[in-house]
Symmetry: C2
Subunit: 527 residues, 2 copies
């Protein structure tokens, strides 16, 4: 079923010379398929097709775009077990994870389809004319969101479905009215090709314009740089490392015409454990955090990599229980030998810093790409003095910082880089005493969690998945939930435009029956 070729629009092409293989990390062997990189001509062709497709696709009625998104979901499901099998083979994840991530991906596609069918997402805003206003008449003005143009999507290593080929970036861009060119992630090119085949199949069945979607193969930065620098590309979505995201951000900012890049990058997701919470619920939180640190082999952007607590007997007791829980979990497989190697290096780099001790570590031998979870510890003063200690270690890793007092803890939070999430574990009566901690966290994160774990990113309108730099490249947007569409659209105003020539969303009769802001009042009534 795998051809190893690029989808340049609906054509399967492979005129490039360089080839790639993927790895089965569970078995630690190469997979059988050979993938061919996109040639310069294929890249050019994909971008031009997307540019031409945009002119047509952007004006399709919402129902057509929604049907396309739902059809992508259907086609993905129709691939059945074969898709789940290649996902597991290329990621090292187990069947249950494959199924749940596929479910999330389907849900995302259908969420954006529903958003289109409901229609109010275009934020139609109308101010009607006042011809007799003095000293000057007021003209009729009507504004709505319109798509930017072709979007390039760089999928993540750790979510081969939900944040990759047909993941949130692709679904939101297609919903916005933007054609998409995916740079297939090199660790799961086969999975990417199968998902791409589902998108292409849906596009054919719904008569989408050729080039509404392409899926290109390439390693290193050559393909990515060519796409981001191309004048006909108008925006970029990325999920991955700080280095990778920043490199693309810089390329986009240096273009003659800079374009927006939404990069969701690194985060160590600080968790503050307050004294009474430990005293009352030490066992509960120890179990929850052992689970959160090791979930998906710790390969989540919301993995709790940094615990912050106040020194003392309670914290000692909590760490003892957390250590017990952590040590008894059976390690699982990482995505790729290179990710395992990075995990080992990152862990040892931090462990080798002055003042760092090991609280818990799974010590038995594991298979080559399996990652033994670890919990390190350091004093607050030492943490403040050594920036290396706040580097992200991607995997089942966490470090507890034992602070002298709440001032030291607050200072540590204030000095952290931007984070996707911040968590507070506290008793209800306790939390109001720690306003300084909450304020500090609020300023450094995109999402604040009370008495929970940061892993688990609900797909809903009120989710913010993003945050201050470097957790994302622009804290004003989210990568998850229907508002993710806002990354790919711009407001557009019509002045004094004839009603019958306006888009339906702005016409007097409100034929779409959407919520609009008319003369500062939200209403779905006609004008």
């Amino acid at each position: 079923m795998i051809t190893g070729k690029n989808y340049v629009g609906s054509q399967l092409l492979a005129s490039g010379t360089k080839t790639y293989k993927t790895i089965d990390p569970q078995l630690n062997i190469e997979n059988p398929w050979t993938f061919t990189e996109a040639s310069a001509e294929e890249i050019e062709q994909a971008v031009h097709l997307a540019h031409d497709a945009f002119k047509i696709y952007k004006d399709f009625p919402a129902e057509r775009k929604a049907a396309f998104l739902n059809a992508i979901a259907d086609e993905i499901l129709a691939l059945g077990d074969a898709l789940l099998e290649i996902y597991c083979t290329e990621s090292g994840f187990l069947r249950g994870r494959a199924e749940s991530e596929r479910g999330r991906t389907i849900f995302q596609l259908r969420s954006f389809a529903n958003m289109l069918l409901e229609g109010s997402w275009v934020e139609a805003t109308i101010d009607t004319a006042i011809p007799d206003r003095a000293p000057l008449p007021k003209e009729d003005l009507r504004k709505m969101l319109v798509p930017l143009g072709p979007v390039v999507v760089f999928g993540s290593s750790n979510f081969p479905f939900a944040f990759s080929t047909a993941g949130g970036d692709t679904a939101s861009a297609l919903a916005a009215g933007c054609p998409v060119i995916v740079k297939s992630h090199s660790m799961h090119i086969g999975t990417g090709e199968m998902v791409a085949s589902a998108i292409i199949s849906a596009a054919k069945k719904h008569n989408m314009p050729e080039g509404v979607f392409s899926n290109l193969i390439g390693g290193g930065v050559t393909l990515g740089a060519a796409l981001v620098k191309h004048p006909l590309v108008k925006a970029v979505g990325f999920t991955g490392s700080i280095n990778g995201g920043r490199a693309l951000f810089d390329l986009a900012a240096q273009r003659p015409e800079p374009i927006p890049v939404f990069a969701e990058m690194g985060s160590i997701n600080p968790v503050v454990i307050l004294p009474e919470a430990i005293e009352k619920n030490s066992k509960k939180w120890a179990a929850a955090y052992a689970g959160s640190i090791t979930l998906g082999t710790g390969q989540f952007c919301t993995n709790p990599g940094l615990l912050l607590g106040m020194k003392g007997k309670n914290l000692d007791q909590f760490l003892k229980e957390l250590a017990e829980q952590i040590e008894k979990i059976t390690p699982s497989c990482m995505l790729h030998p290179s990710i395992k190697a990075d995990f080992n290096n990152g862990r040892e780099k931090i462990r080798s810093q002055n003042g760092v001790t090991t609280i818990a570590e799974y010590k038995e031998e594991t298979a080559p790409n399996f990652a033994p979870q670890i919990l390190l510890s350091v004093e607050g003063k030492t943490f403040l003095e050594n920036k290396i200690l706040s580097h992200e270690v991607f995997g089942p890793f966490s470090i507890i910082v034992q602070c002298e007092n709440i001032d030291e803890l607050t200072t540590i939070i204030n000095k952290l880089d931007g984070q996707l999430t911040g968590t507070i574990l506290a008793e209800p009566d306790e939390i109001s005493k720690y306003n300084s901690v909450i304020n500090a966290l609020q300023n450094r994160v995109g999402r604040l969690i009370f008495n929970g774990v940061p892993t688990g990113v609900e797909v809903c309108a009120s989710m913010l998945h993003g945050g201050p730099y470097p957790s994302s490249s622009d804290s004003r947007f989210t990568a998850v939930g229907i508002h993710a569409v806002k990354r790919w659209v711009r407001p557009f105003s019509y002045q004094n435009w004839p009603d019958e020539l306006l888009p339906e969303a702005l016409q007097n009769k409100n034929p779409l029956n959407i919520n609009r802001t008319v003369n500062d009042i939200i209403t779905n009534k006609p004008i």
Copy 2:
């Protein structure tokens, strides 16, 4: 009344060494006041004060921020004639313009105050918990917009009130909850100081935190670069030239922590004149366009610098009438001798290109800083071959491109840089025949106007003032209307947060009685 000093918070300081003067362009003489540049210490102090003020100001209730904005409006009005006089002295504009621009500025401040009092602008979005959902419970999630932090504002030369010290950028940033540091525009530093004194006076009366506003003086790029590169500055607003805006954009993008820059920059605002519109309303459009080209001595970012029509008798007739109208208007004064010099140079550079002819020009002698309006002409083919012909000439300048046919006209539009506005003059029955023109324009502009002039930017929610690069640095935002606040805010999510600790906008009872999206339904009801 003018001290010549910097407002570092509420302190008037002048420890710098370099000094500046402003010009009275009508009289072509230096004004009497001496202004002292902000020293490095003053810059540092202003930024640190803003950083500290942010921690307090961001959490003030909407009523307090609204009262502050309204008080700024009141204090500006209380400056009375003295303020209008210095405005005229430093800008060369006449009294009527001073009054109308002050009115616009007051209206903007009060619009943002009203937005705060109404309260729904925070886009509160709530998804309530579903504890018994399988396989995993759904957590309670609540999202709203929160401010980014201190904002640096670079005012424009051509709107000393409405796009400067207390203009739209400052008003929207203060409304968002962000302290503001203004880099005073070097052409109207005295006007800037007086307006700054009104803001400081309002801040004192309403017990705003020290540093919520500062006004700094400096020439060239030294002050601007220091502010944009400062780690405690979180966003930048700019109105001015492409070179200036791009330089700041580049500095911001190159920071270790990149920050958003909204720069509203150049535009030549193409106007398409269709044949029947000329045939039926030649005189009307000639009079309207002569007025629009020369309004404010052509010193508007929405000045119609490019007319596009189809060759023929009708166009010849229109140009004859437009020429008559243009030549009979008495020239007016430009903002500064350097702007007059740039106008002369830009005009002659374009006039000296191959194939360019002069259709109309005011030929009598004028005072030194007065600008004689001009209309040039060129063939479509020549325009397409020479990029220089689409450069902006800031002032009462326009060039008509006479196209062979509609295809050539469409090609020209497709090759234009991004623009703030695009205009179509057409008879109602005529416009539907020109879909390709409309589509091409829609793709290149932020606002599309039917049968009107692009000058005149209404302050209302449905206005889009911005557009594809380089008319703005990020087409996803507007500089005018209440949505301008979105440049300075980010969404923020609370997960499972105790109701009594949530901001009021997100509490169950909805104490602010605002519109919120609760479980995907817009409502102002409590939960």
